[in-house]
């Protein structure tokens, strides 16, 4: 039986962890309140600049020595931007955990923030934004989230070109200074570790006062149901999203069952109806996307222009037909699929530390794998149908990119 580790510094910074036997590695996530919705208006692209700028020298290391130090520890790393967080993830050999935490403390608390380096980081952020134009499949989902979520929660972490171009090094440096709000920082760790050692190290590194509380934002509901962005590509890329209760509302397992019946395995409804029976798409799928206060099921399909309308119609029809009934066999397949994903995730330190951090932020506590397993086990056809009837798919937000518009 796994036990969750929990420790809080006196400044409010939270450390959560799960020790995993039989692995030699460890992974950690550091969630900082630098997500696109937490930044000042017209500055949400700052997160994209920071994700690069912070690594261009910190503490007593310049840019090159910092990267060499990270690489020298064999750290597999990435930095991601979500609505709420600028998140730093690292996976590495367990013995190197402490020096890795030292480096990330430097990055977070003593970055060099050199002005010449800022120009390069800004330029890269603009370049990445341009590259997104050549990747309509990724771009359509970003546009979908932007249109679906009440503003500022759908703002893209990549920002917009004019705001990136207008941003100054001083402005960005101020944002970095505002980032260390300990009560809103979560460090999660999973793998082969000694919790006491980590707590001691985190105390040494992060026991300093922070800069106060988060500002509260007033979400602005969006009203555009459908937007088409024309391009000359080979396919129409369709993004579709419909509202669901967020994870904290108490329907997590019912929602996951619904998504799994729609799009879990290859026998799921979307794959069967859109691809297997009609040959409309190669790529089609749906997932549950949840923030703390808002959530939805988002769906992607890519198809050639002449099939776009039919693809969209079949997709939405499948959403609506869900509440007409699900079979016992469908639910069983969904349950066994969810349980096996859960166990396979428990073999990966990165997947587990992401899960722990997400739980703590969204729910204020971390669920054990056993608790999640029991939640899946308890699902019945009636409980899922009751949920679907209380939360019918009535409205949707849709975005398309491609040579042909659809009627919605």
């Amino acid at each position: 039986m796994t036990k969750m580790d929990f420790y809080q510094l006196s400044n409010g910074l939270t450390l959560v962890g799960e020790r995993m036997n039989h692995v030699q590695s460890v992974s950690f996530h550091i969630l900082t309140p630098g997500g696109a919705s937490c930044l000042p208006d017209d500055c949400c692209g700052a997160a994209s600049i920071l994700a690069d700028w912070l690594f261009r020298g910190a503490g007593n290391r310049d840019s090159r020595r910092l990267v060499e130090a990270l690489d020298g520890l064999g750290i597999h790393r990435n930095t991601t931007i979500t609505a709420n967080h600028l998140t730093f993830n690292a996976a590495l050999e367990a013995g190197n955990l402490e020096p890795a935490l030292d480096l990330y403390a430097d990055i977070l608390l003593s970055p060099r923030l050199d002005a010449a380096q800022f120009e390069l980081s800004r330029k890269l952020a603009v370049e990445e934004l341009h590259s997104l134009d050549d990747d309509p499949r990724s771009k359509v989902m970003l546009l979908l989230y932007e249109q679906f979520y009440p503003d500022p929660f759908g703002r893209p972490g990549q920002g917009k070109e004019p705001e990136l171009l207008a941003m100054t090094a001083d402005q960005c440096a101020r944002i970095v200074g505002q980032l260390f709000k300990p009560s809103q920082i979560i460090i999660s760790v999973a793998g082969n570790y000694e919790f006491e050692t980590i707590c001691r190290r985190v105390e040494q590194l992060f026991s300093r006062p922070g800069v106060g509380q988060a500002q509260t934002v007033k979400p602005v509901i969006q009203s555009r149901p459908y937007t088409h962005y024309p391009n000359d590509g080979a396919q129409v890329h369709i993004g579709l999203m419909t509202a669901m209760p967020p994870i904290g509302a108490g329907y997590y397992y019912e929602t996951m069952a619904a998504v799994s019946i729609l799009s879990g395995g290859m026998s799921s409804r979307l794959f069967t109806e859109v691809r297997e029976k009609r040959g409309l798409c190669y790529s089609v799928g749906a997932r549950y996307h949840t923030l703390r206060d808002f959530a939805g099921i988002s769906c992607y399909a890519g198809t050639t222009p002449d099939k776009a309308q039919q693809t969209f119609d079949v997709l939405w029809e499948q959403f609506q037909r869900l509440q007409d009934g699900i079979t016992e066999d469908e639910l069983q397949r969904a349950k066994v699929g969810l349980k096996s994903s859960l166990i396979m995730k428990s073999e990966s330190t990165s997947a587990r530390s992401a899960g722990i951090a997400g739980d703590y932020f969204l729910l204020g506590r971390v669920r054990t794998l056993e608790e999640i397993r029991q939640g899946i086990e308890r699902l019945t056809v009636d409980s899922v149908l009751d949920f679907l009837r209380q939360h019918p798919f009535e409205t949707f937000t849709a975005v398309t990119i491609g040579p042909k518009e659809i009627r919605v």
């Binding site: 039989h22 692995v23 030699q24 590695s25 840019s63 090159r64 990267v67 060499e68 990270l70 690489d71 020298g72 064999g74 750290i75 597999h76 790393r77 996976a91 590495l92 050999e93 390069l120 980081s121 330029k123 890269l124 370049e127 341009h130 590259s131 134009d133 050549d134 990747d135 499949r137 000359d232 590509g233 080979a234 396919q235 890329h237 879990g264 395995g265 290859m266 026998s267 794959f271 069967t272 297997e276 040959g279 409309l280 798409c281 190669y282 790529s283 890519g302 198809t303 050639t304 066999d329 069983q332 397949r333 066994v336 699929g337 096996s340 166990i343 396979m344 073999e347 330190t349 990165s350």
Partner: protein
Amino acid sequence: MEFKHRQLNNGLTMIGEINPAAQSTALGFFVRTGSRDESSEISGVSHFLEHMLFKGTQTLSALEVNEAFDRLGAKYNAFTSEENTVYYAAVLPEYLDAVTALWAQLMRPSLRKEDFDLEKQVILEEIAMYLDMPEFLVFDRGRELFFKDHPCGHSVLGSIESITDLTVEQMRSYFARRYAPNNITLACCGHFDFDQLSLQVERHCGSWSSSDAARLLPSHQSEPKKVYDQKVGLIRQHLALYSPAVSMQDDRWYASKLLSVILGDSTGSRYFWSLVDPALADTAFLELASMDAAGAFCSYICCDPQNADRVEEILNSLFAEIAKNGVTAEELESARNKVLSSVALKSEQPMGRLVNLGFNWVYRQEYLSTAQDIDHIRAVTVQDIEDILSHFNLSSYTLYSLGPARK
């Protein structure tokens, strides 16, 4: 960790790495066939056939196949490359028997005409999807340019024309030739009982008859070429570079792998410091693509079209510099640490371990434990890398560059 190996009378090879501590088990059928084994008339058939295996047998419909996998909670799929078609599943140990039986049946598919016609639509959609992915396009066209008449240059997907014209009879005849048991390796790793698996495989696959599934292995002489192409609607310049490298069978593979990390890893490499750090490109990497008796170093760079010439100049000077002065001990150490930690992370999950285990056998007929893999990485010296550099001229590359159409 224990390794076991067995060959059935019909030539089907079984290999297994048993790890009683694992919580899941991964199984894969590795068929030694891909686009390099196709003639131009049937271009794309290997990949199309991979899709058709999911369409069922004499007794199972496509929907029943999908339901059967999902009932086991299997994480399953397949992929096709230039020279392998791999079918795999990861399951909880209690479902291994059932998933093995299912895959074994599917390896003898019915290839029905009506399923073939419908799936052809899906394949054409997949081709269209990749047309909207320039990174994939430049790799595909660059490889074709680099390998020229050599079969390793064949496109995995085929073209709209070749797929449209393909008949189910052509596919059936290709299947009969290539899916012989003596051309298939079954690999399994994680928590399982090898003897039990072996009995089951014997029962399901023992009656398959072997055939001559030989592969042509012509030598490859590359003649560097540069092609600059345009595509309406693109914003960025996408570059793919190919130059000769070691094959999968070559003992210098580990040194070549470390060289590729030193030169072209996504972070901390020479590409990174020369192209990404100064913001000349937002993506730049080099990979080692070793194949059966052939190989290539291939690079991808995405940049502003205005910077494309500058990027090429920098690449040229990077290649000249490394050929002249080699690599430093510090660079090697850093690359080694990255590769070691990636091997360790991957090996923690049976599914991550499966592909390595299978390919080692397919290409080299040998078993390498993770510990042995690590020993090989540790043994590489600066001199080994210099030997690679003196043998393979990175400057002599083929380039395919795709950018926006000029007004």
